[in-house]
Symmetry: C2
Subunit: 332 residues, 2 copies
């Protein structure tokens, strides 16, 4: 019997299998999504489940870290795994991983590319329609029994014809744009640089984009450069009828300022899937009818997990067989 087959037998000794660290918080998604399909090819080690002695015996030999959701990876984390060669992330955004530190140590990093783009874009549009046309507020109105008592529910605002400003014209921003063109909306965008082959008007300055938009979509990646990119000045430029939709990261908007603008009626409304201090949402927003709140679910559909599983397992297999990684992140 070949050694390879012996390693894969259910009762076999798996101490020679490549070690993959499960790096996660206790509350993350069911990791069997990943472990079940790989359990004969790698050995998972898990600080949450393994005994301390077993874990510390093996941690020095870990070559791959499977970083689940947004569990932080900083230099202290990396110090624990001196043999680490590759971090396989299960997200598109990588703001929880210190990329510069990975680069310094020669550790490769992969994300899941555009796996979630369609679902995030459609959710963003759902938030916009909901805010402008007051869908959730109307639903509350009915469920509270108000329709026969109060009569007509207040008018909403038309989506069709709105001037849309996209902040971050990546995969998600581009899909949002294409969908909203079918609603008769006009599109303009801001990003670090003007995109070649994109005909939408480009604004290098976000305030200028806000002045010329009815709606801003926040679709850029979070980094120290985009933290509080949407500040008081941008919100003021967006104006009393302006609406903001955030499906990026909470801290791209100065949340305290946003809450103030919404409470005072200094902007028109907001659709928020992400917040600065999740799962905590500013309670001042709970009573507002021009706000739609969602618990970071823009990517959360069953199809996402199937796609996620394919990409993550594909990356671990590619790494182990020295093939090109899927969605390897440029660390330069």
């Amino acid at each position: 019997m070949a050694p390879n087959q012996e390693q894969q037998s259910p009762g076999g000794n798996d101490k020679d299998l490549p070690l993959v660290l499960l790096h996660r918080s206790a509350s993350t998604i069911d990791v069997s999504l990943f472990t079940s399909l790989l359990d004969k090819r790698v050995q998972f080690i898990d600080p949450l489940e393994d005994s301390d002695s077993s874990f510390s015996t093996l941690s020095g030999s870990v070559r791959i870290m499977l970083c689940v959701a947004n569990h932080p990876v900083d230099s202290n984390t990396l110090d624990n795994y001196p043999s680490l060669e590759c971090v396989v992330a299960t997200s598109t955004g990588l703001d929880h991983i210190q990329l510069a530190e990975c680069r310094r140590r020669g550790i490769r990093v992969t994300n899941v590319g555009d796996a979630f783009c369609d679902q995030v874009a459609e959710f963003a549009i759902g938030l916009l329609i909901d805010v402008l046309r007051r869908v959730s507020a109307a639903d509350r109105f009915i469920r509270s029994g108000s329709w026969p008592v109060m009569g007509e529910f207040p008018l909403g605002f038309k989506v069709s014809g709105k001037r849309i400003g996209i902040i971050g014209l990546g995969n998600v921003g581009m899909r949002i744009s294409r969908m909203l063109e079918a609603f008769g909306c006009s599109i303009a965008y801001n990003s670090r640089t003007r995109k070649p082959n994109v005909s939408y008007p480009y604004y290098a300055d976000i305030q200028e984009l806000a002045i010329n938009s009815d709606v801003l979509f926040v679709c850029c990646a979070f980094s120290k450069d985009t933290r509080h990119l949407i500040n008081k000045d941008v919100l003021k430029a967006l104006g009393k009828k302006g609406v903001i939709v955030n499906i990026g990261r909470g801290a791209i908007i100065d949340e305290k300022e946003l809450v103030g603008f919404l409470v005072r009626g200094d902007i028109g409304g907001a659709g928020l899937d992400v917040f600065e201090n999740e799962p905590y949402v500013p309670t001042e927003l709970y009573g507002l009818d021009n706000v739609v709140l969602s618990p970071h679910r823009a990517a959360a559909v069953p199809e996402s997990f199937v796609h996620l599983q394919e990409i993550v397992i594909g990356n671990i297999e590619a790494f182990l067989s020295n093939k090109p990684l899927l969605f390897e992140v440029e660390l330069q």
Copy 2:
């Protein structure tokens, strides 16, 4: 001074102006939208405001009825106005007007054509995204303070890629189709007859369409032929994961059956802007997270009223000057 000018002077005697009947319920929209722009060209009479004697003196001479919202026009109504020549409706649907009776009496009828199509179509898509992606339910989850306590909110379902069945491929149905194509959905439809120049697959049988659809949109006109068109058999064909969106009229769906299917989980969800007995909504739906309820607001945006005003006033003016009516309804 020409008689015409005399009639239009602010203090002039307006008893010779053409008479327009305001036909409305007490709770309808502000009719000044129409009356303010016409008050020097026609004389409005209003059974809700005029004295009985003044009204009965004039009702025999009414030539135009401005039928506001869905206030019923039947043969008894028409008997009161023997000189009536034209009913100007402020709606697209005309199920509140006995068209056969108008035809028999030689009374012309106008509606507002496609004035509301964009807003109704976008609202329909908002309902779909909301039902599938659980937007209103997620918003309730946050506002109830559940996120930090309960953790992850249940997954929704992706819109992109769904098979959409459109029932009634008129102006609204066509706009919904075009928008959802941009979401990567496939479209099929049912209508009385196959549409020339439409490449979407046609199903003459609604049950067949339901079997082959993940989502049904009800966009057809209401009539005795479409009452309870969506019955138990169609809902069964749509199946446990199927979603229905109704922005047509409540009674196109057998509401009692629909409630049963939703409560038992025999269909996947519903987005409902219209109901059989408005403003009463079956209370069994209030507790369901896979249902989004709206108080007949799909057309309710400020732009609708501007457009409505233009069309209605345009029709009254066209009638009075013997010009072709806008959106005259074929009564054959």
